[in-house]
C-alpha cells in the first residue's frame, strides 16, 4: 500500500512539474505566435489584392476593419456593427445598432483606435463600455474593406464553413460588385491527397472571376478538368494575356470542377463560398443604406 501511495504521489508531482514547464513556455510563445498569425493573414490579404514583395501595395491603399456583433437585449435581437469613422481627422469606431429589419436603432460612439480594435480583448472591453452591459454580446465576424484613393476596391472576408471533417478557414476577396477576385484556404483538416487538394491553385482559382449572378447558381460538376484550363489555373498570372483571355472566355462561366475522389470537400467549399458571398452582399447593402441615410462619417 505504501508503495502505491509513493508511486502515485511521485507521478502526480512529475505531471504537475511538466504542466508548469509547458504552461510557462506557452505563455512566453503565445504572443509571438498570435503575431505571426496576424502577419500571415495580412500578407494573404495583400496577396489576394494582387500585391506582393515584388509588387508592393501603394501608400494610398487603406484596409479598414468592420466588426459584426449580435446583441441580445431584453428578448430582442439586434445587429451591432462596429464601423470605422473619422472625426476631425482622427480614426475611431462607432457602434451602429440595427434591428432585424435593417433599421437603425441607436448610434453609440466608441473610444477605440483601429489598432486596439484589432485585439479581441480590447474590442470586447470597448463593446462592454458602449453598451453598458456584458450580457448577450456575441462577436460574429470581421470584414476588411480595401480602399484606394477614396474608392472601395475590394472586400476581404475571413470566414469559415464546414468541410468534410471539420471547419475550413478561408479568406475570400470580392470586388465592389461582389464578384470573386480570389480565394485563399488558410486552415483545413481535409484528407491529404484527397480533400486537402482544395488548397491547390487548380481548385481554388476556379472561383476567380465568378460574377455575383453566376455565383447564385454555382454548382459542382463531376467532370475531368480540361488540361489547358488546369494549366491556366495553376499559374493564372504567368500566362500571356491573349491566351488567358481565351481560356477565361471558354471556361469562366463553367461550374466548379470537383476534385477527384473528394466531391464532398469540393461541394462544401463551393456552398460555403456561395453562402458567405450571398449573406455578405445582403448585409453590406443594408449597412450602406443606413450609413448613407444617417450621413455617418464612415471610412468604409
Amino acid at each position: 500500500m505504501n508503495e502505491f501511495v509513493k508511486i502515485t504521489f511521485r507521478l502526480t508531482l512529475s505531471c504537475l512539474m511538466a504542466a508548469l514547464v509547458m504552461g510557462t513556455a506557452f505563455i512566453f510563445t503565445d504572443k509571438a505566435k498570435k503575431n505571426n498569425e496576424h502577419v500571415n493573414v495580412h500578407t494573404t490579404m495583400l496577396s489576394l489584392l494582387g500585391y506582393s514583395d515584388l509588387n508592393p501595395a501603394p501608400k494610398e491603399l487603406k484596409l479598414y476593419s468592420l466588426y459584426r456583433y449580435i446583441i441580445e437585449e431584453k428578448g430582442t435581437t439586434y445587429l451591432g456593427y462596429m464601423v470605422p469613422v473619422t472625426e476631425s481627422g482622427k480614426e475611431s469606431y462607432e457602434l451602429l445598432k440595427l434591428n432585424l429589419e435593417g433599421k437603425l436603432v441607436q448610434r453609440l460612439p466608441m473610444n477605440i483606435s483601429p489598432e486596439a480594435a484589432a485585439e479581441d480583448v480590447e474590442r470586447a472591453t470597448a463593446m462592454k463600455e458602449a453598451l453598458k452591459t456584458e450580457q448577450g454580446i456575441s462577436y460574429q465576424d470581421r470584414t476588411v474593406i480595401a480602399r484606394l484613393g477614396g474608392q472601395r476596391v475590394a472586400y476581404l472576408l475571413p470566414g469559415k464553413f464546414g468541410g468534410f471533417k471539420t471547419f475550413i478557414n478561408v479568406i475570400l476577396s470580392l470586388n465592389p460588385e461582389f464578384a470573386i477576385r480570389g480565394l485563399e484556404i488558410m486552415e483545413h483538416e481535409e484528407d491529404p491527397g484527397l480533400g486537402a487538394e482544395i488548397s491547390q491553385n487548380y481548385f481554388k482559382n476556379q472561383f476567380r472571376n465568378k460574377s455575383f449572378e453566376r455565383l447564385k447558381s454555382l454548382d459542382v460538376i463531376k467532370e475531368p478538368l480540361p488540361d489547358e484550363y488546369r494549366a491556366y489555373l495553376n499559374a493564372p498570372d504567368k500566362m500571356d494575356k491573349d491566351k488567358a483571355d481565351a481560356i477565361i472566355k471558354q471556361y469562366g462561366e463553367k461550374d466548379i470542377y470537383a476534385l477527384t475522389g473528394s466531391t464532398i470537400s469540393s461541394r462544401s467549399v463551393t456552398d460555403g463560398v456561395k453562402n458567405m458571398v450571398k449573406r455578405f452582399a445582403y448585409r453590406i447593402q443594408v449597412l450602406n443604406d443606413v450609413i448613407a441615410d444617417q450621413k455617418i462619417p464612415a471610412l468604409i
Binding site: L11, T29, A32, K33
Partner: protein
C-alpha cells in the same frame, strides 16, 4: 553501470564517433531513413533532437533520486514529451517558415529511441554535468548522422545541396526514395566499422 569516469570532451567525442547513435548504436533509424532527403531537414530535426536530448538528460540527472524505479519509463516519456512540447511551441512561434516543413516530425521526437535509451543508460546514473555533455555528444552525433545522410541523398537524388542546384542534373532518382535511406545508412555503418578496425589494428601494432 557505475558512474562514468570519462572526461567531458571524451563524452562529446564518443557521442559523435565511437557511440554515434545512428551508425554505431543503430537507434532512431526511422528518422534517419525517412526524413533525410535533404540537408536542411536533417539539420532542423537534428537541432531539435539535440535540444530535447540535452534538456531531458539534465532533468533526469537532476531528479534521478526522486524517480521511483518502477515508474521510471513513464517518467522519462513524460520528461521527453514536456521538452518536445516546449521546443515545438518555440519553433512554431519564432521560426514559422521552417516549422511548416518539420512541424509534423518534431512531435514525433517523443518516440525516438535514442533519447529514452540515453536517459535509461546514462542520465539516471550520472551527475547533471556529465549528462549535459553526454546529451550534447549524442545530439551532435545524431545531427552529424542526419546531415551526412542528407548530404549524400540530396546530392545523388536531386543533384542539389541545401536547395541550390549544384550538379544541374539528377544522378540517381532512387536516392530520393525512402528505401535509399537504408543503403546510405548501411554504407556509412560499414565505413564506420572499417575505420574502427583499421584504428584498432594500428593501435595494436604500435604497442
Amino acid at each position: 553501470m557505475a558512474a562514468t569516469k570519462k572526461t567531458n570532451s571524451q563524452l562529446v567525442l564518443d557521442g559523435i564517433f565511437l557511440e554515434n547513435p545512428i551508425f554505431r548504436l543503430a537507434l532512431s533509424m526511422c528518422p534517419a531513413v525517412g526524413l533525410t532527403t535533404s540537408i536542411k531537414n536533417g539539420l532542423l530535426l537534428g537541432t531539435a533532437v539535440l535540444f530535447v536530448q540535452v534538456f531531458s538528460s539534465c532533468t533526469i540527472a537532476a531528479i534521478k533520486n526522486f524517480i521511483h524505479p518502477r515508474i521510471r519509463i513513464p517518467t522519462y516519456t513524460l520528461t521527453i514529451a514536456t521538452w518536445v512540447t516546449v521546443i515545438d511551441l518555440v519553433l512554431a512561434a519564432y521560426v514559422p517558415d521552417a516549422y511548416k516543413q518539420v512541424g509534423l516530425f518534431v512531435k514525433l521526437i517523443v518516440a525516438f529511441a535514442i533519447i529514452t535509451m540515453r536517459l535509461e543508460m546514462f542520465a539516471c546514473k550520472n551527475t547533471v554535468s556529465a549528462s549535459f555533455w553526454d546529451g550534447i555528444g549524442m545530439g551532435v552525433g545524431f545531427m552529424f548522422g542526419m546531415v551526412t545522410i542528407g548530404f549524400v541523398r540530396e546530392l545523388l537524388g536531386s543533384g542539389m545541396l541545401l536547395g541550390y542546384d549544384v550538379l544541374g542534373f539528377k544522378p540517381l532518382l532512387f536516392f530520393v526514395l525512402p528505401a535509399a535511406g537504408f543503403f546510405c545508412v548501411g554504407i556509412m555503418m560499414a565505413m564506420f566499422n572499417y575505420v574502427e578496425v583499421v584504428y584498432n589494428r594500428r593501435k595494436e601494432s604500435n604497442s
